[in-house]
């Protein structure tokens, strides 16, 4: 297939939109922490962007999209440092290099989301090591399984834009790290009030906008499929937001953090499904995923777990729900594969299997990485530094 300039234009801007999501995560998170940690929280996402780009160029792309090795990992020497990638290759209408760029941003985004579990206490140096290892040992294999020709791909597991690869992986990784690193000093005793909700809303707004590049860009074309993904993404975000707002209203007031959390839950839920379901599926996935994430978040708080900014509840559990719901609502008229509603129990089973394995691998492997770093360099700053605040202690800055 020749170069399709329209598709190329769309994927170029989609890559820029997903890139924008990475610091937007920092903004979103930054508003929810205490004032003394806001710069540090933003920095974790900014650094994720830089690390992710370098790692992807040097080795990540090769591991994820190199020639398949036994279904579990990719490997192509040509791809190391992208040295052997021809400048003018085109696949499916878009330049190969563009596909590399687009995928690169996904890796960065996953790492940024994961920082939820360690904000306010992680040492910058350890975070850098952690990030590089995580991208290499957790993210790259998961990307390979789903999209690079790995076992999940062969099995026919559906993950349109990364519900499993990006959201399950980062959400459960955040949970694992939160357990390894332990609670913030004072957690559960003092109130940790979000210091700047408008900042979180602005960050959320850019996450929402960027998500259309994330999902509709994953069509890797500017066509009806991209348009359909756009529509169902909007539908799911809307019902997700309204559902969470309604739930928080029932037990109090319709608050804005709940609204934006619901929007993101809806977006996470529709991520794996965006190219496979119709608008009705989109509306329902938003509702269901928001309810699941709301319950998960409520449980997390009751359990006293300091997975501080709820990547697990929203991205992890939302991605899990989305993976399964994809197997429920997939419409064969759109993607050639039907879901449970069309009687395809098989696909439903595959989705569950894929999601469960991703959960286990992401959680387990991240736990191991975190544990080793903690035992060697130490993941955590001193208690004194935590008191003073990460901004001053780690960065010598004040917001």
């Amino acid at each position: 297939m020749d170069l399709d300039t329209g598709a190329t234009a769309w994927v170029l801007i989609s890559a820029a939109l997903v890139l924008m999501m990475v610091p937007a995560v920092g903004l979103f998170y930054g508003g929810m922490v205490r004032k003394k940690n806001v710069i540090s929280t933003m920095m974790l996402s900014f650094v994720a962007l830089a690390l992710g780009i370098v790692q992807w160029i040097i080795i990540g792309y090769s591991l994820a999209f190199g020639a398949d090795v036994a279904g579990v990992i990719g490997w192509s020497l040509d791809y190391i440092g992208l040295s052997g990638v021809p400048i003018d290759g085109v696949t499916g209408g878009i330049p190969d290099i563009l596909f590399i760029c687009f995928q690169m941003m996904f890796a960065c985004l996953a790492l940024a989301i994961l920082t939820s579990g360690i904000v306010g206490r992680v040492k910058m140096s350890s975070y850098i090591v952690l990030g590089l290892l995580w991208l290499t040992l957790v993210y790259a294999p998961l990307a390979h399984w789903a999209w690079g020709g790995g076992w999940a791909y062969s099995l026919g597991a559906l993950d349109f834009a990364g519900g499993t690869v990006v959201h399950i992986s980062s959400g459960f990784a955040a949970l694992a790290l939160a357990i390894v690193i332990g609670k913030r000093v004072g957690y559960g005793k003092q109130m940790f009030r979000p210091h700047n909700i408008p900042m979180t809303l602005i960050g959320g707004m850019f996450l929402v906008v960027g998500w259309f590049g994330f999902n509709a860009g994953s069509a890797l074309a500017a066509n009806q499929l991209a348009a359909s993904a756009f529509l169902v993404t909007a539908a799911s975000a809307a019902t997700g937001a309204l559902t969470w707002m309604a739930l928080s209203w029932k037990s109090g007031k319709p608050n804005s953090l709940g609204f934006i959390s619901g929007a993101i839950a809806g977006l996470v839920g529709i991520t794996p499904a965006a190219g496979y379901v119709n608008v009705g599926g989109g509306l329902l996935i938003g509702i269901i995923t928001a309810a699941v994430c709301y319950a998960a978040l409520s449980w997390r708080i009751k359990a006293g777990l300091d997975e501080s900014l709820d990547a697990w509840a929203v991205h992890g559990m939302g991605g899990f729900a989305g993976a399964i719901l994809t197997g429920v609502f997939a419409v064969s008229a759109i993607c050639g594969v039907g879901g449970l509603l069309e009687g395809n129990v098989m696909q439903f089973g595959i989705q569950i299997l894929d999601a469960v394995i991703a959960v286990v691998y992401a959680f387990g492997m991240t736990f191991v990485i975190g544990w080793i770093i903690n035992k060697t360099m130490g993941l955590r700053v001193t208690e004194d530094e935590e008191y003073i605040g990460m901004d001053l202690a780690q960065h010598g800055e004040q917001a």
Partner: protein
């Protein structure tokens, strides 16, 4: 002189300031503070669940006046800052030994 330190509800500040002016007390210094008292805090919503916060935004007014005005001042503040509900605030009267102007060399004591 006395310094009247009044901690009142932020939403009542404009009204009190207007009333002070009408009573020929223009000078005042205003600080945004957080307060805790009998009011018992407010219930904030989080993404899911709530959190009870014990300190609330209040506004502190500091007004230095001659001794004779103290009574009137307290009356005016009470009148315009009162809602009758807990959290209306407190007024403290502190002695001031001297007051000086920066602009001029004026200096008054007592």
């Amino acid at each position: 002189m006395k310094m009247i330190t009044a901690i009142i509800r932020p939403e009542k500040v404009d009204e009190v300031l207007n009333a002070l002016e009408q009573n020929n007390i223009p000078g005042v210094t205003i600080t945004e503070v957080l307060g805790r008292g009998e009011q018992g805090g407010v219930c904030l919503q989080y993404r899911a669940g709530k959190m009870q916060v014990k300190t609330l935004p209040k506004t502190k007014l500091e007004i230095v006046v001659p001794d004779k005005d103290v009574e009137m001042l307290i009356k005016v503040i009470r009148e315009h800052a009162r809602t009758g509900k807990k959290g209306d605030g407190r007024i403290f009267v502190l002695p001031v030994e001297a007051a000086a102007w920066v602009r001029t060399d004026e200096y008054i004591t007592g």
